[in-house]
Amino acid sequence: MVDFSTIWMYLIFSLSIVIMLWRPKGINETIPVAIGATMIVLLGYVSIEDLKNILSIVSGPSLTILSTIMMSIVLESIGFFKWIAHNIIIKSKNSGIRLYLYTNLLCFLMTMLFNNDGSILITTPIIIHIIRFLSLKPHQYLPYLISGVLVATASSAPIAVSNISNLIALKIVGLDLNSYVKIMFVPSMVGIFAMSLLLYWIFRNNIPKQLGLMTFNGRMSNIFTHPLNPSAEAEVDKNLFKICITVVVATRGAFFVLSPFGIPLEFIGLFGALVLMMIRWFKKRVGFQDVLKSTPWHILIFAFSMYVLVYGLKNAGLNTLIISTFKENIQLDTFHATMTMGLLTTVFSNIFNNLPAVMIGTLAITEMDLDTAVMQVAYLANIIGSDIGSLLTPIGTLATLIWMFILKKYHIKVTWGKYISITILVVPVALMVSLFSLYLWILLIL
């Protein structure tokens, strides 16, 4: 029989998640999660010892993600992203299909070089500026917006450093960054490619063939400046952009080169952000204050509180339930481990968001006493479920929720029904392609 305290635990967890997704009066998502976590600690579901353990697991990945956000704040301040939007329009050469390819490529590379949430925060306003500038109708702009969010979010799967939930789970399961990439890069890229092809096929009739761009003196007019006053364009410092993108790439590379020597990822990320701020100070004499002020430090509390909630569920017996239900199936072989964990995390993510889902899945895997190879495969399938399978509904990831929030801010109406009518055709296929590729890739390399 389920005891009263367990019901309390599930009730606090459910309420915290519902309020986090709902965000009444636009409250920060950290507030309900932090209140829920505090209640759980006060009620004694999570001990002080557990809290110390949680802090050591969560702090590093949170700071790593924050460092990439700091980098994007610096770049935003020097006009980096406005310049990208301007270039995309010019390079599209009046072709809607070319614009579609460029926006998808931008979303993919932004997640690769920064992180999924940061990518959404930056690319969605860029796409909105472009579609507004081109005066596209709703059926014409939906392909750009929906494929952008799906590609940007799914692109966090190939490398672990593009997503906070991947990093936290990586730390729990004890896998290093290079081993992760060796196994995950190819299968998830196959999945993303399949997703992009499907999206193009679905949207092929809605993407405008011609964009109807105006030209002035033989040149495409600028999205951010009046054609008669190209002063903002003249202020662009391409040299600074070149230096900045080199620092971003070097920091990404350093994650993989330096982490095997025991250097924590967060140190590398924060050092990269510091270098970028120093360059800006040197070139433009702008201090660090705006970056420190705009960085969403609450992510630290959010990730910590979310893990406290999940730990409470674990202590209340959810893990035991998952283990007793799925362990037998997962233990059979790598195929069963891949499919079971991938689908389980997909279902969990679409019910209560992928961050708690991936934490619950990873904690359950570590307690199943699995063979190391099967455990790591199950964990990676768990990540595919959380990064790709979670895209089925807008609540699946924080990135899609942020995307919905930005659209609302710009008065662009994309209903849940419209979103799901597309994802229901794309996400299950991309998920199964990724999971099956993971299984085949493991057979090939192990």
Binding site: F80, W83, I84, H86, N87, I88, I90, K91, Y102, L105, L106, L109, M112, L113, I159, N178, V181, R219, E233, A234, E235, V236, D237, K238, F241, K242, I245, T246, V248, V249, R252, G253, F255, F256, V257
Partner: protein, 44 residues
Amino acid sequence: MMLLYFSIAGFLFYKVFLNSPSPTKEEAVVETKQSTFEQSKAAV
């Protein structure tokens, strides 16, 4: 290998999204020995 991968990704990013034929700070300034007034006078 990942360093090479990111170098390619960074290069692609620069080439596609940052490098444009439009004038930059340096290119926007056209150096000439004649003043605008002298140029106009010569044209007339």
